[in-house]
Amino acid sequence: MFQKIRNKKSDASVLSDMVDKQRRYDSLVRALHTDIYRYAFWLCGDKHVAEDITQETFLRAWRALDSLKDDKAAKAWLITILRRENARRFERKQFDYSDVEQEQLEDVFSSSNEDETEQYWLRRQIGKLDIEYREPLLLQLIGGFSGDEIADLLELNKNTVMTRLFRARNQLKDALDSPELRGQSNG
């Protein structure tokens, strides 16, 4: 009799743990999938690969969800998983999605009017940035992380991060400020 009550109770609590976990996962997905997908895209430059990486990232996150203690750290946690997942892609890679060849950045953006033409051009410039300059910039702009947090995530010291951010912005600003180059690369 007691046994029965106890069993019932623990069944119920197991069930509610499951429901809690599911709810937590759902809100994690809804709150962060946009940022994670965008980050993945700018990391690899291909929307299908970005979707794959995002899927893998969230699946791993689900399996390890119990290890995420602080929900505020969720974004950094997911980005860490995503970066590992992206690195794994290179370990087993068959196809060459090299970061250096971002000139072949997929043409997913229509360029019907001038505004969008500029955006298209700017996107190519971002894609052309070396990954080591691009990534801190992505973390700052998409992730909204501070210099210290970026240093933590990339396992660099803060000075290096600031230097890279400087170079990234400098390069983009130069490109924007020199219309000849811009005209050339626009073909």
Partner: protein
Amino acid sequence: MDDLQFRRQAYGDPNDQSEDFLKHIAESPDDAKLVNDLKNLDNRLNQALNINVPDDLAEKLILRQQLNQHQQHKKRTRYLMAMAASIAFIVGVSFSMLRFTPVDLSEHALAHVYHEAKALSTNQDIGYNDVNFKLASMSGLQQSKFIQQPGRVFYTAYCDFQGVKSLHLVMQDEHGEKVTLFIVPAEKRLKLEEAFADSKYQGQGFKTADAYMILVGEEGSDLNFVKNEIENTFI
């Protein structure tokens, strides 16, 4: 804040809110313009970075997780089923092993005599009706009984021969020596030896219609006498 440090900071994070940085901007209109330009650049970059996310991505992520969980659940169920099946199998096998392993009656009989020493020191006088009463409650021996008193019976009790309920009697031979008799319902897995002995006791086994009879007495006791007596009184 010197100029170099300022530029580094401005390019590193134009939205920096540190006091030094804000003060520097307030003091130098040129640098303020630079910071503004950089903020402007950031806005454009942000717009450029905001690529379209597939509409159903969130749903896909949740679906994938649920399929994965479902599969794991199925795997776990299959594992549990396999576990349950193998446990049931082992239980079944060992149960039948237990049931069908041959039991050496003579060995057990001797062990029993040693073990139940008090049986041989008891000096009751039990009537054969009492013995019959006990026999009647044993499976396979409901029909068997003594038709008359088989000499004096000192002791009677149920005992267990490897899961077979049997009857333990102490009787006497011609010269008053105590002889132990075990009545065991006949079962296929029981193995009966006609004669056996160890350093202290000797024994005989024989079969009646429904039961095995095992006699154990000290060396020199006349087991044949008891055997005859039983054959004449037990049906």
